[in-house]
């Protein structure tokens, strides 16, 4: 089976400081990994994805994530938080061996303080 663990349910940062949202995964097959963002009362938006190409993935709005196979991690980072980054973030794993079904982490709520 495959699974995702988001290590923090809530993260609070000050505007202008770095963001780190942690994600560990488990999969018996080579995984694809995604980060999605969900703003209040809005739909899910894809931030970035890893699909066996470059291990450092750049996404929208200045976010990036690094795939580390040895650590089974895919942490999401941003150098400088903006107020508009406040939202819930989901780390997601899928694999061809599991029919490309998405498995979502529990989510991390990011709060940005002014």
């Amino acid at each position: 089976a495959q699974s995702v663990t988001q290590l923090d349910s809530h993260v609070s940062v000050s505007e202008g400081t770095p963001v780190l949202l942690r994600c560990n995964y488990s999969s018996s097959y080579s995984p694809s990994l995604f980060w999605y963002v969900q703003h209040p009362n809005k739909g899910l938006q894809l931030l970035l994805k890893y699909t066996s190409a470059a291990t450092l993935v750049k996404g929208i709005n200045g976010f990036e994530a690094e795939f580390k196979k040895s650590e089974t991690s895919f942490h999401l980072t941003k150098p400088s938080a903006h107020m508009s980054d406040a939202a819930e973030y989901f780390c997601v794993v899928s694999a061809r061996g599991y029919g490309n079904k998405l498995v979502f982490g529990a989510g991390t709520i990011l709060r940005v303080k002014s």
Partner: protein
Amino acid sequence: SAVISQKPSRDICQRGTSLTIQCQVDSQVTMMFWYRQQPGQSLTLIATANQGSEATYESGFVIDKFPISRPNLTFSTLTVSNMSPEDSSIYLCSVGVGRATNTEAFFGQGTRLTVV
């Protein structure tokens, strides 16, 4: 990419009734997925809907409670049957686009269901 339209966007229903949610995609896709997001929770896959075959349900979900139709490659419906307050959730339709090893998922805006 894919644009997904879901209807209704929200509804308040009486317990014991049923609600059918529609999902329309702007391109032909092989697989469509239905998810549930309970209040304060992450997304859980309900079932995978393939055109021309029975939907495949995940553990904990059954066809009698969540019947799914997939009449063509651009449309699917999910029915929440005999509703109870515990069914109050956001229901989302999703499709995968791209080669099997590079599939990107797109989501509808969701249907926010409240059962009273």
